[in-house]
């Protein structure tokens, strides 16, 4: 590990780093009894960055996201999210931390018996936004995810893609600095998945850091974004992908679907996978701020 890796505890990141990095994992271990969910995981996410976390199920993606939400604390090491340190944060502060994070899940986790509007307003109500303001904000984000015409529908009557868009609206209505998306496309068909990923890119373009986990290696490769690969609880690669000439998410939808089909239809042997993993330029773990 390079010497320049930020050391936990003893010295908090300097102020410019604090500004830049919104999430940092410092040599994080997470164990449940004898089983290890994460081993010596270090990486950081900048403000406004887009990061894919890729790995098969059980690789530790969800554990990492739970650590960011501080639903868990590391067994060893430290997680820093904004101004919150896992080693120092008090229980009472955790709700404040979570107000800076929006979360989207594979299974949407909506209040299925309430309307679109109520689901989104819920997130604002919880943090005590005045009623008039809630109305305004909710209308704005629902419109933004394209569901304004369905704002009074009960969540469970919506399609999967629509439900995920409601979840996204709920995640961003409080204008979080971070959006975590845990396999957000896992329950959606490819076309709808694309719409959801588009939304995430748009959110990212507006300045929110987005961390999206997925098990789909092929899918993430087409976007030219940074990809952090986990396997067996370890970081096996952290790759700053080539930036495409045109940002991938700015291409017309139809073109992207074709490309996705071409790319995704090719079955690869494991050897080919191995080769692709270390596509240049690889980031040095933890050393990118040196």
């Amino acid at each position: 590990m390079p010497d320049s890796a930020p050391r936990p505890g003893s010295s908090l990141p300097r102020s410019h780093q604090e500004m830049r990095q919104i999430i940092s994992f410092y040599h994080v271990n997470l164990r449940y009894g004898d089983t290890s969910a994460l081993s010596d995981v270090s990486f950081s996410v900048d403000n406004g960055e887009f990061l894919f976390v890729v790995g098969p199920s059980g690789a530790g993606k969800s554990s990492a996201l739970r650590l960011v939400l501080m639903q868990e604390r590391p067994t060893d090491g430290q997680v820093q999210v904004g101004r919150f340190l896992s080693t120092r944060v008090r229980r009472k502060e955790i709700p404040l931390l979570r107000r800076e994070i929006g979360v989207v899940f594979q299974d949407f986790r909506l209040l299925t018996d309430r309307s679109v509007e109520e689901n989104v307003a819920f997130a604002q109500m919880v943090i005590g936004v005045p009623r008039a303001e809630i109305k305004r904000n909710v209308a704005r984000v629902i419109n933004w995810v394209g569901l304004y015409h369905k704002r009074n529908q009960i969540a469970r009557t919506l399609s999967g893609g629509e439900q995920q868009r409601v979840a996204i609206a709920r995640a961003i209505v409080n204008q979080p600095k971070i959006l975590l998306a845990d396999e957000p496309t896992g329950n959606l068909d490819p076309e709808v998945s694309q719409e959801v990923i588009d939304l995430l890119f748009r959110i990212n373009a507006a300045g929110t850091a987005v961390v999206m986990s997925t098990h789909d290696h092929l899918m993430v490769r087409q976007y030219g974004q940074r990809v952090l690969s986990l396997e067996g609880g370890r970081v096996i690669s952290d790759v700053e992908r080539y930036r495409p000439r045109r940002p991938e998410h700015a291409r017309p939808l139809a073109e992207r679907i074709v490309r996705a089909d071409e790319d995704g239809a090719v079955a690869r042997s494991p050897e080919q996978w191995e080769g692709m993993r270390d596509d240049p330029p690889a980031r040095e773990q933890g050393g990118r701020d040196a």
Binding site: P95, R98, R109, V126, V129
Partner: protein, 289 residues
């Protein structure tokens, strides 16, 4: 706490009840019947205890006097009896009165008495005892000392009966206490489990609230309000049934002890607290993450 939030919390508490109306109704019924059991048990045991007290109140000591007792001795005895600890009241029954009473008791066969030439019945002092005097040991020493007075023929006290009553009373109190604890514990257990079921139904909602950064206090409030309302409803239901039943029972049994306004209110308050407290305890598990 913003007013928007406060309004939301109260509304949410009630909306939650409407939303979970089926399980909520079942919960109220279960809680209500547990409370009813508890109340009925209290009433029955209080009434049994009262009956025991009354039985004790009937225990008398009778001091029979010799026919040749000196007037002075009798007066001294009377004085002493009046000042004795444990003696509640003293009544002198003359020979004529005793005969009169006996005549009344055997009623139809009273002509048998006419065959008698003289009155065979002695005069006596009838003592009624207070709680102190009803203790078996004290009663024994009382009868012992009375027997030594001059002019006293015999002292009759139902010591054996009192001893048995004492034993019965202590067993009764023990059994009541044990059953009472069991009934109370099972009522609390049933109620807390019922409340937990309604909370479990909302586990998903709680998880979502936690994710969007709700404080624990904020999450708790609607549940506590809902739980309290449920508890209050169960209490009112149980007391309603009890009062209606009590109305009929009292038509048939006189002087039965029954809950007054204080006890009824107390029960409703108790069940309200149980509902609210049960919700708090049930939520704790979900608030940890």
């Amino acid at each position: 706490m913003h007013s928007t939030q406060a309004r939301y919390l109260v509304r949410e508490g009630m909306v939650g009840l409407v939303r979970r109306r089926l399980s909520g109704t079942v919960a109220v019924l279960i809680m209500g019947s547990s409370l009813l059991m508890l109340a009925i048990f209290s009433i029955v045991s209080i009434n049994l205890d009262r009956i025991l007290q009354t039985v004790r109140g009937d225990i008398d000591v009778v001091v029979y006097l010799r026919d040749d007792i000196h007037e002075a001795d009798q007066a001294v005895l009377h004085e002493d009896l009046l000042s004795m600890a444990g003696v509640h009241a003293v009544r002198y029954v003359g020979r004529d009165e005793a005969l009169q009473r006996f005549r009344g008791e055997i009623a139809d066969d009273s002509e048998l008495l006419d065959a008698l030439e003289a009155n065979p019945l002695p005069a006596s002092f009838e003592l009624s005892l207070d709680a102190l005097g009803q203790d078996a040991k004290r009663l024994e020493s009382l009868t012992g000392s009375l027997g030594r007075y001059p002019g006293v023929e015999e002292v009759v006290a139902e010591i054996e009966w009192v001893r048995r009553l004492d034993r019965f009373s202590s067993v009764f109190m023990l059994v009541t206490a044990v059953i009472g604890v069991i009934v109370l514990v099972s009522a609390v257990f049933v109620i807390s489990n019922t409340v937990r079921l309604t909370v479990e139904e909302s586990a998903e909602q709680v998880a979502i609230m936690k994710l969007v950064g709700a404080t624990n206090a904020f999450i708790r409030t609607p549940f506590v309000i809902g739980g309290a309302l449920q508890g209050a409803a169960a209490g009112v239901l149980a007391m309603g049934v009890l009062l209606v039943a009590g109305h009929f029972v009292r038509q048939h049994i006189d002087g039965i002890f029954f809950f007054g306004t204080g006890q009824v209110l107390g029960f409703v308050v108790l069940s309200t607290l149980l509902g609210a407290g049960g919700s708090l305890v049930a939520l704790r598990r979900h608030l940890r993450l």
